[in-house]
């Protein structure tokens, strides 16, 4: 009976019942269908989606008109939502040259203007050169005082206004390895903060206690770096690591009081297990500075701690110091193919003397997060960090540990 119904359903119900053969029955079904054929169509929604994809509508919106588009976000944490026009061309010199320039302001009137000219793939992708120019005017950056003992309640704010020019070149002699250097000129000015909720920094702290607060200067800056990057997917690494070291020399061109050298070391390691659906992500990062007697590191160029990428239970820029140590550990697990969750622990400190480089007196934070990805690249991160100073919620585009101190072709905005 089952097959009988089956056969009828297959060929018979549409066919004349007096077909003499199975073949005739099939042909009769076809004849009936032929009488009712119509052009193959999609739903209007699907047609629209096809049009969006084939017309590259999203890409065109993203690319803007004639290279001009809207740029959202990307300014300093705490500056409020930022937006502005951006000009981006990736098709110059047959696609071998990229030019990007943007002018942004934020709801708290932070401003940033930059130009980036990059030849990313020279010598068969073994070399790159770029030039970067940046002007920032951030009217209310937080400052809590120098060192690890600063108090949360001592929050002040100041204006940072700087202009930076930097030319860089790098080579990739081996797989995973990049060696490079840059030469730059940096002009800095600071001033009273505009956030009425907090006292201005120069009124809160004595100039003698905060190097660079009273007078700012210009710097000639040279940089050399070496990086080994074996991450499987930089936008959402599950295995491999990044090991980078960068040395920078800052020469005070005006006051002759702020010459210093800075060494950044960053280590990231991603340890996968259970077929990479679980990952232990580790990062250790330290910044050490040197200065001769009579010279100091100005506070606006000091390493900072606190924020969405290091101590996530603390406010951004919570700690300023000449030296810094930060460590992060994350346990990540895949909830489904588009979402990972994470439990994390952060620790770190700023310190005055390099001899204080140790694991004592660390500030710490713990928390959890969600990482949304498309094709294994994290495009949105939502982290909540807890510390003895309360909790912070971070809503960021891109993966954790993305803010590297290392000057790279794709990361020129490192002062």
């Amino acid at each position: 009976m089952r097959s009988f119904v089956l056969l009828l359903l297959a060929f018979g119900t549409l066919a004349a019942q007096d077909s003499a053969t199975r073949a005739a029955e099939i042909e009769e079904a076809r004849r009936k269908k032929a009488a009712a054929v119509k052009p193959e169509t999609n739903t209007p929604l699907e047609d629209r989606l096809i049009h969006i994809k084939e017309g590259k509508v999203l890409e065109r919106i993203s690319a803007g008109i004639g290279g001009v588009r809207a740029k959202l976000g990307g300014l300093a944490t705490g500056g409020g939502f930022a937006f502005g026009p951006e000009y981006l061309r990736r098709d110059l010199a047959g696609g071998r040259l990229m030019l990007r320039s943007a002018a942004q302001t934020s709801l708290r009137l932070f401003q940033q203007y930059d130009v980036h000219l990059l030849a990313p793939d020279l010598a068969g992708r073994r070399a790159y050169v770029d030039f970067y120019a940046l002007h920032r005017n951030f009217p209310q950056l937080p400052y809590y005082g120098p060192g690890a003992d600063s108090e949360k309640n001592d929050r002040s704010n100041f204006r940072l206004e700087d202009t930076d020019f930097d030319a860089a070149a790098g080579v990739r002699p081996f797989r995973h390895v990049t060696i490079g250097g840059s030469l730059g000129y940096l002009m800095v000015n600071t001033g009273p903060g505009t956030d009425d909720r907090y006292i201005s920094t120069e009124r809160k702290f004595a100039a003698a206690a905060v190097p660079g607060l009273a007078r700012q200067t210009d710097f000639l800056r040279t940089t050399a770096f070496l990086q080994y990057d074996s991450r499987d997917i930089p936008g959402g690494a599950r295995s491999g690591g990044v090991y980078a070291v960068q040395f920078r020399d800052y020469r005070d061109r005006e006051l002759k009081r702020n010459d210093f050298q800075r060494l950044d070391i960053e280590l990231q390691q991603f340890i996968p297990f259970f077929n990479q659906r679980r990952v232990i992500a580790l990062r250790g990062e330290t910044t050490l500075t040197w200065n001769r007697a009579g010279q100091s590191v100005p506070f606006y160029l000091q390493p900072t701690l606190g924020g969405s990428d290091d101590l996530r239970g603390f406010r951004p820029y919570r700690f300023y110091g000449d030296n810094r140590l930060a460590m992060n550990a994350e346990y990540r697990w895949e909830v489904f193919s588009g979402l990972d969750m994470a439990l994390f622990a952060d620790a770190g400190k700023v310190f005055q003397r390099r001899s204080q480089w140790d694991f004592s007196n660390l500030e710490s934070a713990v928390g959890f997060g969600f990482r949304f990805n498309v094709r294994n690249n994290v495009f949105l991160r939502l982290d909540t960090g807890f510390s003895h100073e309360g909790f912070q919620v971070w809503f960021k585009f891109g993966p954790a540990f993305a803010a590297s101190p290392i000057r790279q072709a794709g990361n020129p905005r490192v002062l």
């Binding site: 119904v5 994809k53 259970f274």
Partner: protein
């Protein structure tokens, strides 16, 4: 409701239609009706994804299973524009299986390969080329991280799908120096914004920078010979083409498409969705009709074309609310079996294994209506064919993938054999595993497929005979007629049982010829 109406229609038709026609069982559908023209139809990846995840398109079985359609009275799929009976009913030699859809027309090695079209976007670059003989191919490559993985998979899987009866393109592993690629004078390239510009030799260099280079400086690719005919776009795994009069069986009920799920499970083809199929308007004997093909097997055998496949591949849909909830709530402490699967550290293989492979639980990336509707008899139909591809043939086909590392070749061979055997164990015994019925010398003979392939011990079966009325389908037991000897005179039916009462096979004979087979389970 629709099913019920169809069944009512069928029931109402019973008195007027005989159970078997004189030409049953048919092994080849009648020549297709002429299709003067058909419109090319595109589909949206995203629409397809969400439609199948949340829309349940087509007639999906919920409470009542829907038997497969498009089959003859033996339950076999007749030759048609969808399917051709090959190795199971017409045993192919190993050489024929390796030959697949064809192996005599690789791109000519003499002369340049003219680029007609290039794909520069995304992570899997490629060219459409024309060789010196004027034959056109799609030239596709491996990802930088996994040389040989996608190209070998494409070649191996296409040959195995072909042996199983499906229409596929000819695929060739090719190696060539960069100089062989020449850009045509009129070749245009679409940039990331869809703007067209003239393609240059530099574009070829850029594309080849994303392709693994062999030790001798050459490049390796898979050249897929363009199928003849006018491309009409993919077919869907539900409904029928509205403009094709020959397409009368809803795709979700086609046995060849339901059974395809097992072939996809075997070969790890989790990308078995509409986008990897192609309808073509072809002409044969002066008649145009729509030919249905499977294409693009770069995402099989542990490959995802642009890298190794996800370890989840085949075990879970991309979205599974229950599993996601478990992971969310358990902080990842609940570890699914597939996360413990072990994969080789062989870049040419990707993530292809057999230890955790669950033949019955295998799923593609998202629900496929034909796969969802699969019933035990559909699975038996497919499993017996897969089991018929022997170890020697598998070894020979995998060799055609031209892995440079013998460990990769051995791994793939081993996994294919083990996965095939798991499919046999899972599906051959879900029904009575009897097939190849014949009336010979007054006896009904058959093959125990499960025993033949050693997935179950040989068993004895009880046979009881009855007479049946071809006009009504009614059966009347013949007293004392037991065993394999066929009762004389008239139309008779053998009911075969094993030790599981629900599993039976009814074999209908008319004039000493097996005309029908019905399975129940």
């Amino acid at each position: 409701m629709r099913t019920a109406l169809l069944l009512l229609c069928a029931a109402a038709a019973l008195p007027a239609a005989p159970k078997f026609y004189s030409d049953d069982p048919i092994w080849k559908e009648p020549a297709p009706a002429h299709v003067p023209d058909a419109r090319k139809r595109k589909i949206s990846d995203y629409y397809d994804f969400f439609l199948h995840l949340f829309g349940n398109p087509g007639q999906i079985r919920h409470r009542k299973p829907v038997p497969a359609q498009g089959v003859n009275t033996w339950g076999e799929v007749p030759d048609s524009a969808w399917y051709t009976n090959r190795n199971y009913w017409h045993p192919m030699t190993v050489a024929e299986i390796v030959r697949g859809p064809g192996d005599a027309q690789p791109p000519a090695e003499s002369g340049r390969w003219l680029v007609i079209e290039a794909k520069t976007e995304g992570v899997t670059p490629g060219f459409r080329i024309r060789d010196a003989r004027g034959t056109e191919y799609l030239l596709k490559f491996d990802p930088l991280t996994n040389p040989e993985m996608a190209t070998a998979a494409d070649v191996i899987s296409s040959k195995l799908f072909y042996a199983l009866g499906y229409s596929v393109p000819e695929n060739y592993i090719v190696t060539f120096p960069a100089e062989r690629i020449e850009v045509g004078d009129k070749t245009v390239l679409k940039d990331a914004l869809g703007r067209e510009r003239r393609m240059t030799a530099n574009d070829v260099v850029d594309i080849l920078l994303n392709v693994p280079r062999m030790k001798d400086g050459k490049y390796r690719g898979v050249a897929s010979r363009l199928l003849p005919g006018k491309p009409l776009g993919p077919y869907r795994y539900f409904g029928t083409r509205q403009d094709d009069p020959n397409d009368v069986v809803p795709h979700e009920h086609r046995r060849d498409l339901r059974g395809l799920s097992l072939a996809c499970a075997w070969l790890g083809h989790d990308d078995s969705r509409a986008i990897n199929s192609l309808d073509l308007l072809v002409e044969k004997d002066g008649r145009k009709f729509v030919q249905h093909n499977l294409i693009d097997f770069g995402s099989t055998l542990g490959s995802a074309s642009n890298g190794p496949n996800s370890p989840r591949s085949g075990f879970e849909y991309l979205w599974n609310a229950r599993n996601a909830a478990v992971q969310f709530a358990s902080f990842g402490l609940v570890v699914p079996q597939w996360e413990r699967a072990r994969f080789p550290r062989l870049p040419a293989v990707g993530r292809f294994e057999s230890e955790k492979f669950d033949a019955a639980g295998w799923v593609p990336e998202y629900p496929n209506p034909a796969f969802v509707n699969r019933l035990p008899d559909d699975a038996f139909w497919a499993a017996k064919q897969i089991m018929e591809i022997g170890d020697e043939a598998i070894r020979a086909v995998v060799k055609a993938g031209r892995y440079s590392d013998p460990r990769a070749e051995e791994w793939v061979v081993g996994r294919l054999i083990e996965r095939r055997n798991k499919i046999g164990r899972a599906f051959l015994t879900a029904v009575l595993p009897l097939d190849r019925f014949e009336a010979r010398d007054g006896l009904l003979t058959f093959t125990d497929v499960a025993a033949k392939h050693k997935v179950a011990p040989a068993r004895t079966y009880a046979i009881a005979w009855s007479r049946f009325d071809n006009a009504t389908g009614e059966r009347t037991p013949i007293a004392g007629a037991q065993g394999p000897r066929i009762p004389e005179g008239g139309d008779v039916c053998a009911e075969i049982r094993g030790d599981e009462p629900k599993k039976t096979v009814l074999v209908y004979l008319r004039a000493g010829k097996v005309v029908g087979i019905e399975r129940s389970w």
